[in-house]
Symmetry: C2
DNA sequence: TCAAAAGTGTTGCGGCTACACCCATGC
DNA sequence: GCATGGGTGTAGCCGCAACACTTTTGA
C-alpha cells in the first residue's frame, strides 16, 4: 500500500454519543503528548480526522479514522458537507500543529466532514487523548471545528425526522422509552409530549419490548425495549 | 490573484434545465477543439467542472464554473456529494485528456459535486461546446459523471419534497399549473393527480395567478401563474 | 405515606388520496 | 362539432396535537 498522504484533502468525523443525560461529541486533545511546560493552552481539542492517503477512497479514510480511534468497524458514517474555504486554516497555532504533524508546509486543506453515532461505552477508554464533551456547550476548538460540529448537528436534526433508525446507534441494546424520548428532545432541542411519543413508538412496529424491567429505581420501573432491525426492514417494504 | 490550480480537488456541476417536455442536463463536449480526424469518438461529454484554485473556496469554484459557462451569477447551487474513489479516473482517455488540459500528471482527483437549476433559454447559446441532453436517457459520459448525475437527481428528488422553491428556477416567470406538474412528475418519476396537485398549489399561497392566459392553443387556454417570493417568505414565518 | 417517574385514551382538526365530469378554444 | 387539454368538489382515512390521571416502586 502506498501510504503517501495527500496534503490537500482531509476527512473529519463528528462522532456523537449519548450518556443518558446529554448529547456528547468525541474530541481529541492534539497536544496530549506535549510536556505541560511547553503548552500554551491546557487543552487544544479538535475533531478526529486525517489526511486522505493517495490511493484511498475518502469514505475509506473516514472509516479508518473511526476504527483507529474506537476500534469499531461497520459503523454508520455519513458524509454531510465539505469545508473548503481557503482561510479555514487561519489560526497560527493550527498551522504550526499541522506542520509538526505532517512534516509538510501546508497552507490549505479541504476537509470532508462525516458524522457518526456510536454508543459511548463501546469506545476504548484506554486512549487518553479522547474526551467526550457536551455537544451543546463546547469550548473553542481548533480550526473551524466548532462550525463543522454545528453543521453536523443541523444535518442530524433533519435526518432523524425521516430516518429514525440512526438514533438507535446511540442507545444501549435495551433502553426505555424515556431514554429514547430524551435523546430526541436533546437533538431536536424541544420537549415532546410523552403520550404521543409512546404512541408513535408503538405505531413504528420496530421498537419491541423485551422481557425485562428496570430494577432498584425509586419509582414505577420502566419496561425495556429494543430496536428490531428485521421488523424495520419489513415496514420499509410496505 | 494566485491562479495556481490545486490538482487534487475539483468541482463538478450538474446543471438541470427544463424545456417544457423533459428534464435536461448541461454537458460539455471536451473534444470540441480537436480536429475531427483525430477524434476517437464523435462526442465526448462531461459535466462542467474545474480544478479548484489554490486560494479559492470550493463553493466559489463552483460558482465560477457556472458563470464562465452561462454568464449567470447569483444562481442557486448546492453541494451534494463528494466523489473520492481513487479509481474514478480509470479510463485511459480520461487520463490523457486531464493531462492535456492541466499540463500535469494527475492520477487522482477528489471532486465535489454541486447541482443547480437554471432556465435553459438563459444560457449563452454561443458556446458551441455546450449541449443539453435528456437527463433520463444519457450516453456514456467521461469519468464517473453518469454516476454523479444519478446521485444528483436522487438528491433533487428528496429536496423538492421539502423545499419546492428550487423548482421555480427551472420555469419561465409565467407558467401554467400543467407545466409545474409535468416538472414534478419528471423529477419524481411518477404521475400525480391533477386535481390534488392544483389544490396543493392554491394551498401553497405563493403561487399566484397573473392577468394573462395562453393564446392560440386548440383547447381551453390555461391560466398563467408566477412564483411570489414575498408570499413564500411570509408563509415561512408562520 | 410520600415522592418520583411510568404508563394510559379520547377528541378534533387538517392534510392526503381517490375519483368523474363540464369548459373553452382552434380547427 | 369534435378533439384537446383546462379546470373543478367531495368524502373517507390517517396522522398529529392537545390534554390529566392512575400505577408501581423505594425510601
Amino acid at each position: 500500500m502506498n501510504v503517501r498522504l495527500n496534503p490537500h484533502v482531509s476527512v473529519d468525523c463528528v462522532i456523537f454519543g449519548f450518556d443518558g443525560q446529554s448529547l456528547k461529541v468525541l474530541l481529541i486533545d492534539r497536544n496530549y503528548d506535549i510536556p505541560p511546560e511547553k503548552l500554551t493552552k491546557p487543552l487544544t481539542l479538535k475533531l478526529p480526522g486525517s489526511m486522505v492517503y493517495d490511493d484511498e477512497d475518502v469514505d475509506t479514510a473516514a472509516t479508518r479514522v473511526l476504527k483507529e480511534l474506537t476500534g469499531l468497524e461497520n459503523i454508520f458514517l455519513k458524509q454531510f458537507h465539505v469545508f473548503g474555504s481557503p482561510d479555514r486554516l487561519k489560526k497560527e497555532e493550527d498551522l504550526i500543529w499541522l506542520q509538526a504533524e505532517t512534516h509538510m508546509k501546508i497552507k490549505r486543506v479541504v476537509t470532508i466532514a462525516y458524522y457518526s453515532l456510536i454508543k459511548i461505552h463501546k469506545t476504548t477508554p484506554s486512549d487518553g487523548r479522547v474526551v467526550w464533551l457536551d455537544a451543546m456547550n463546547l469550548p473553542e476548538l481548533a480550526f473551524d471545528h466548532n462550525n463543522i460540529i454545528q453543521v453536523g448537528l443541523q444535518t442530524l436534526q433533519k435526518e432523524i425526522q425521516h430516518e429514525p433508525i440512526e438514533l438507535f446507534e446511540l442507545l444501549p441494546k435495551k433502553f426505555t422509552i424515556r431514554q429514547l424520548q430524551t435523546l430526541y428532545e436533546l437533538i431536536l432541542g424541544k420537549k415532546l409530549d410523552n403520550r404521543n411519543f409512546r404512541k408513535s413508538v408503538s405505531r413504528s412496529g420496530y421498537i419491541v419490548p423485551v422481557n425485562e424491567k428496570e430494577r432498584n429505581v425509586a419509582h414505577k420501573p420502566a419496561q425495556y425495549y429494543r430496536f428490531s432491525h428485521s421488523r424495520y426492514l419489513k415496514n420499509q417494504k410496505l
